[in-house]
Symmetry: none
Subunit: 203 residues, 4 copies
DNA sequence: CATGAATGAGGATTCATTCAT
DNA sequence: TATGAATGAATCCTCATTCAT
């Protein structure tokens, strides 16, 4: 059993290294221009080894994307659960995402690119991506619904409001990455909170 | 002169057809997976003919992107000039963009992908893209500044506000394209206007 | 008839210009790297026009080669006929060739390349090249035979001797073209005459 | 170490096979008309494998040319060192070259073609070719100088004499390859020796 | 399990040739 | 006759994937 466990640990370590390298290389070059060779080198293993853990370049890409997405979703969900008011949830959402992407710029590029791809092919693989993507929006939508119910904010269509919050936040991340010396994460998040909470405030 | 003109017309027609086909194919497959062959076929010409008008696949891509961007920018700027109040300018911006992208879905995908690429390589070619991109944001920023001056809205940082409006709009476009049977363009635009104008309203 | 003649003159002029341009471009780039476009431009006509006079790129090449070869052969033969002794014929041969190639460097490169090609493909077209090539050697061989008959030189195998003279001369041309500031044509020719006439002198 | 050595042996074998195939195909078709595909097939490997050993078609060509040139030069130099008299050195030079090219006809064609190219582009790559080419001539020139010093032959310009010998020999090779049923290598070499040694004999 | 040499399908680009004007 | 825009076959090179060691 120790043997098995040792194997598992090694295997998990390899997978982790591969995905870390994959995010770096895919993030910097995009899917097509990234080479398996380069990912392997960055992971400190040989090209062939990757194929022991993943059946194809696409599979590596999806694993890298899915892993990051799940981590991000979990983190955002956790932070949002920690607070109660709509404004606090809003702030938790924006700040966590901004901070996460500040720390995982390469991943953001994959994520962003995949949004674009999801627009094109409603293929089986993308279904999962779309689902996780929508899970994030749903986090916001339910917060909006609750706030409406609690009369914290005026009655607004939850889906559109959630989408708006979601995209304002994503837009800020894009702006932050395009123009380097950005404001602090907290300041940018505060702006989102301010705009949205005022925008949704009861009349 | 007639001769020359006839040639010019044909040449313009070819360029137009190539760019139209390019937007379609690049939009559906992305730059790397798109084949010159397919673009040519879609344009109804032979592969080699493309190289009479553009020196490389990349050049075709940039021309397609730039052309669309300029058209969009011009249209948005024109619509915004037609109206006076901040709210109307806001509506003009959102509605024009949503409508344009509803009609040019393929182009939106190129556009979206390139935002992602611009995050990675601050190369010479991308400079122009970034500039046009920022021209759009500037349209909004100056509207915001004017509104602040006219005391239509409260004092907010123009750049951030513009980015937020810009991204909320873009986000709605993404949502519309991901989930097909969307609300009307006017309704989605109205939501943006509502959220933002209330969010920026004087206290 | 005047009409016809005018046509003929124009046609001859076109052919001449094409061949002149062909020698220049083929000589500077070799057959494969030379483009029909470039030849046409150098000849001051349009690409398609070349195909009114020659059926293919190869045909242009062969015409350029054959024309030059014939001119050279005629010139050499004429000069050799003007003199009587073996030494004088030798000098006429070497000096005329050296001078001709000094004046037609581009042509020499085509000529040289084709010797190489003739080694490879004993095709129909090359037959003629080989024949003209051997006609030149034959000029020398008959001079050698006559000299032997007249006892000007010792008895040597005419074919080998002719080949040797031919190649020594050609070798000098190569040397002249590789190392620019060469000796005068007369001096180089004199060396050939000296070496060979002494080498073939009666014992 | 054994491992490494086995790899090295395999690698050397591959390189050798590639160059052998390259000489064959380039020799029969010339650089431009030769296809990497065909070279690979002739070497018994796949197209892509060539690119593991050489970065481009050009690199393969140069390696094939350089390798052959060096082998030839080494062989000629060795044979010439083995003998003392001018006549013997002359014979060693001529016979070794004739024999080498009899055995490596394909290589001769590359070699010959490159002489032509060297006439055109004095580019960096050709520099090395020109150097090795001149090293061969220098072998002869120093032999001539020594013979003059030892009074074996009359006083002649060493460079021109060397060039003449060099080219007579090359000319004979061309003749041998153009007209198949040639004399024996020894007989052709003897002719060169006879002509030249008599031509340079003291008066 | 790990390796990396070998594979070969795929794709951008060039250019001789054609043909409508 | 002259043109040059259009064609598409031909070819170099890349790189995801396989497999013998």
């Amino acid at each position: 059993m120790a043997r098995r466990t040792k194997q598992d640990v090694l295997s998990a370590f390899r997978c982790g290294e591969i995905l870390r390298a994959a995010r770096q290389v895919f993030g910097q070059k995009g899917f097509a221009r990234a080479g398996i060779d380069e990912i392997a080198r960055s992971a400190g293993i040989a090209k062939g080894t990757i194929y022991l853990y993943y059946p194809s370049k696409e599979a590596v890409y999806w694993a890298a994307l899915r892993g990051g997405l799940r981590e991000l979703l979990a983190e955002v969900a956790a932070r949002m659960r920690e607070v109660a008011s709509f404004e606090d949830k809003l702030r938790a959402f924006a700040e966590t995402k901004i901070r996460y992407f500040d720390d995982h710029r390469d991943f953001f590029r994959i994520y962003h690119a995949e949004v674009g791809n999801a627009l094109t092919r409603p293929a089986a693989t993308d279904q999962e991506f779309t689902r996780i993507y929508q899970d994030q929006v749903e986090l916001l939508a339910s917060a909006v619904r609750a706030a409406v119910r609690r009369k914290e904010i005026r009655r607004v269509p939850a889906a559109q409001a959630a989408a708006a919050i979601f995209e304002v936040t994503r837009g800020l991340v894009v702006q932050r990455l395009m123009a380097r010396p950005a404001a602090s994460a907290a300041a940018d998040a505060a702006f989102v909170v301010d705009l949205v909470s005022k925008g949704l405030r009861k009349p």
